[in-house]
């Protein structure tokens, strides 16, 4: 791709999240799980090398709870 990707941040729809944890598996540098299995998401833009995995995590979340939005 010739254009640089737009900066994005991961964000969670808490009313949908069920704590499946797939996002933490795909994005360990950005997301860890708390003691109840819910994602702790770092408040920084998704690094370039993680953007493809981030889009995968969004599409694979069973609860459709993960989103990417402008930082």
């Amino acid at each position: 791709m010739s254009e640089s990707p737009k900066p994005v941040r991961a964000s969670v729809d808490w009313t949908a999240c069920q704590g499946h944890g797939g996002c933490a598996d795909l994005l360990p540098e950005l997301i860890t799980l708390d003691e109840w299995g819910y994602p702790i998401v770092q408040e920084r833009p998704v690094p370039l090398e993680a953007q493809r995995r981030a889009r995968k995590a969004v599409s694979e979340c069973p609860a459709l709870a993960l989103r990417l939005k402008a930082p």
Binding site: D13, W14, T15, A16, C17, W36, Y38
Partner: protein, 417 residues
């Protein structure tokens, strides 16, 4: 209107009736116009300018500058090409607060005037007046609105909402008005852009609207002069709560009508516990903490602040909407830990309890669809600070008020409030 539904006392602002929010008796529209005069006609831009110059901020909890909210809704309406809606929030989810109910029953036409002004500010033709169910306010206000002598450009619908702590949360309220449940929604777009019916929605507390109605008559300079009163709910143990109208710059002792006691809970159940001696020479405006819903609860020396807080935290955990994992998991655990703290148990592991509470507070803050867990964590934290000595006493088996029930609602005794 049967004022017996409101078991509160009222303390009036000692000023001319036209310059205060609360009258001594409920005012119908004729009496209202006799006291306050007719509502001056004002264009939308003028209303926003007047709110701006007066420095009017929200009286429901967040204290956000009203003119900025109005401008945001007005601009969103222009951008989305959808006609905006006004929501007057009189749902008063705080169980210890009575100021909104008092205002609505004594001066409904100040609120209705405010709604007309707010509607003009954003170009709305439709407004909702949300009130707590169970007090007869729905019928009373529908009646008052119907009997207004002056025709308004805005159609006002009075809606009773469930008596839940979160019913008045912005997105929960707009969800309920849309025919859904009164639970906070995950907001991809904020309410001022996408609220009732997907339209830009201006949500304002009923007291804020009443302030606006007075500012329209007396001007921004009057409002800034320091004589205008705000509403507070003052609570003491074993006595009827009092709704007090007073300038926020008044000495605290004057506002609460007595000494500050052992400690004061300021704002509401998402508020702050402050030690009594630290606030003795303050005014509400200089306390250094948000005034929230205007609650000023005085904890006397013969009551235990940990017992009070444990009771409030249990209530807050039960009032979670239950939609978000961190809140659903964290709040009950915090309530249980605090219940342990509230019991004078010799040898209890205070350090472990504090560590757990601190960790859970961090985990629930900022990780939900609304700020309910954040506010709950803030209350717990302020209680731990203000009642640190009490917590130490409890680990030695001593409590200053063993076996006394909490003074703040909900308790069995106050369920009628």
């Amino acid at each position: 209107m049967n004022t017996a539904v409101l078991p509160v006392r009222i303390r009036l602002l000692p000023t001319s009736p036209a310059a205060r929010l609360l009258p001594s008796e409920p005012l119908n529209h004729d009496a209202h116009r006799a006291v306050y005069g007719d509502l001056p006609r004002k264009g939308g831009a003028e209303v926003i300018a007047v709110a701006d110059h007066a420095g009017l901020c929200g009286q429901g909890g967040a204290a956000f500058p009203t003119h900025r909210k109005m401008t945001a809704v007005r601009e969103a309406a222009y951008r989305t090409r959808r006609r905006p809606v006004v929501v007057a929030n009189g749902s008063e989810g705080e169980p210890a607060s009575a100021k909104d109910k008092a205002l609505l029953s004594l001066a409904p036409h100040l609120v209705l005037d405010g709604i007309a002004l707010a509607a003009a500010a954003v170009g709305a033709e439709q407004a909702f007046l949300a009130v707590e169910a169970g007090h007869g306010l729905g019928r009373y206000l529908t009646d008052a609105n119907r009997r207004r002598r002056t025709q308004s450009a805005v159609v006002v619908r009075v809606v009773e909402v469930p008596s839940r702590f979160l019913s008045g949360q912005e997105s929960a309220l707009t969800s309920y008005l849309d025919g859904g449940r009164a639970k906070p929604r995950f907001q991809a777009r904020p309410v001022f852009e996408n609220g009732v019916g997907g339209c830009p929605t201006l949500v304002l507390n009923v007291e804020t609207l009443a302030h606006l109605a007075l500012i329209a008559r007396h001007g921004p300079a009057w409002y800034r002069s320091g004589t205008a009163g705000s509403l507070f709910t003052v609570r003491y143990a074993d006595s009827t709560p009092t709704v007090v109208e007073a300038p926020p710059t008044s000495p605290l002792q004057e506002v609460v009508g007595g000494p500050a006691g052992q400690a004061m809970l300021v704002g509401g159940y998402h508020g702050t516990w402050l030690p009594g001696e630290s606030v003795a020479r303050s005014s509400p405006a200089t306390l250094g903490v948000p005034l929230g819903a205007g609650l000023l609860a005085v904890l006397p020396h013969d009551r235990c602040g940990l017992v009070e807080t444990a009771s409030i935290l249990r209530y807050l955990a039960l009032e979670s909407a239950g939609q978000c994992g961190p809140c659903l998991n964290g709040l009950p655990r915090m309530a249980t830990a605090f219940a342990e703290l509230a019991r004078p148990t010799p040898g209890s592991d205070l350090r472990r309890i504090r560590e757990d509470l601190s960790r859970w507070s961090g985990l629930v803050t900022g990780r939900g669809a609304c700020r309910h867990p954040d506010g709950t964590a803030r209350l717990a934290r302020s209680a731990l600070m203000t009642f640190a000595a009490e917590a130490d006493d409890h680990t030695r088996g001593y409590c200053r008020a063993p076996n006394r029930p909490p003074m703040l609602p909900p308790t069995a005794a106050s369920s009628a409030n």
